[in-house]
Symmetry: C2
Subunit: 251 residues, 2 copies
């Protein structure tokens, strides 16, 4: 039997946000490869081998998965959210491009998932209701100047911005620097939302203004959404707030 690699987006956390396609693929796999937290979300199954690897070693993990598949295994590589969004899918194809030519004959599939940005947006209302972008704040793999240039371009052109990987112990200042850069372009009242663990019991979602946005409220798993100047707050009768970006833009 030919080996395969299936890169699977598990969604934001709740089981009912994992697609039936992903659930079926997990059940068919002989091997599950991924970071500990994500592998822990896969229901255990007799005869299935679990390979837990460090989160920072994405390329090594991708090569490991491809090596197993080349031995004839049916390998599931699991990511949180959508596997194609700052997750494992890109690492798998990078490994293939620069790796063993035989890997190009493997069956490689990517299964989409509910991304963190869309899960957070749904919980908030419709903040991604007009043109938007997603930027990883990690400068491990790209120069910080590139991050800043993209923030400036996106804010200046009126995109809503979703920030992934906003902060970590090894990268403590980047989110604050990003807020500072955005404050040069966007009005102080611009809406900023920080969302953690959306769909899970420990979910925490906050809406603040750009002027008062505090990087210390975020951690490495926080999804940070920066509204455009057009993004609106709507007061709910129960005292809560919906956030949405209108479909229309003024001339």
């Amino acid at each position: 039997m030919t080996g395969s690699v299936t890169v699977i987006g598990l969604g934001p956390g709740a089981e009912d946000l994992r697609t039936p396609q992903a659930t079926a693929a997990l059940a068919e796999a002989s091997d599950i490869v991924g970071y500990e937290t994500y592998v822990a979300r896969v229901p255990p199954r007799d005869g299935q081998t679990r390979h837990i690897t460090d989160n920072r070693e994405e390329l090594a993990r991708a090569r490991h998965a491809l090596t197993l598949a080349a031995e004839g295994r049916q390998v599931a590589v699991v990511s949180s959210g959508d596997a194609g969004v700052f997750a494992m899918a890109s690492a798998v194809f990078e490994a293939i491009e620069h790796g063993d030519t035989a890997w190009r004959a493997l069956e490689v599939r990517v299964l989409p998932g509910i991304s963190a940005m869309f899960a957070a947006a749904a919980r908030l209302g419709a903040p991604l209701g007009h043109d938007f972008c997603a930027i990883s704040l990690s400068d491990n793999l790209k120069p910080w100047e590139t991050v800043l240039a993209r923030l400036r371009a996106a804010a200046g052109a009126g995109f809503v911005i979703a920030l992934y990987n906003p902060i970590s112990r090894a990268r403590p200042w980047q989110l604050g620097a990003a807020f500072d850069e955005l404050r040069k372009i966007l009005p102080p009242a611009t809406c900023v939302a920080m969302a953690n663990a959306v769909s899970l019991p420990q979910e925490r979602v906050e809406i603040v203004s750009l002027a008062e946005a505090d990087p210390a409220r975020a951690d490495m798993r926080t999804l940070v959404l920066i509204g455009s100047a057009a993004t609106r707050r709507v007061a709910r009768a129960d005292g809560g707030t919906w956030l949405y970006s209108p479909r229309s833009a003024p001339a």
Copy 2:
């Protein structure tokens, strides 16, 4: 019983890409509101009323859903893909903001779905593997100059670009004009993918270069992905091609 509006993203088309959360919410609804094509994707159910409305009247449809909910109905508003991405969620909150104050006391939920861009990306490989954006090419609700400015900003800053609503009978020239604008900024070899009906039997996915991209190959339901200069093609052993955007950017 208090009425409710649940805005539901049905995903790109295949049933196994609709979340269990969405499926459960559809089963609980007393009324289904949406464009004909999307309502047709909801399994019929005894005692459930279906309200089919014209696709162009999003705000009127939102008001209709809210009016039904204010009468105590449990209303499901259905969209393709993710309901928050160029779909019904934003229209619902716009209707609430400018409508009857009583609507602010309704239970309003948005349930995320697999968006067209992530479904298409997964089928192609990992073209959204680094920073990316989504732009609607429709100039019904925003000036065309705003669309052009966003295309320039995104291409100039190195984002991968997903284009929604690329072309229609009423808007026949916008996609060609967008390609022309992008050709001023991006190399001729930049990868362009056009994806239709991803996950359905009639699925059609093509990869071309920006130089040869032909707007006539798209229709109103095509998801067009424009790579960045860093986006790579990887040849598969079977003659096919994977598309991916590397996680890293050069200094």
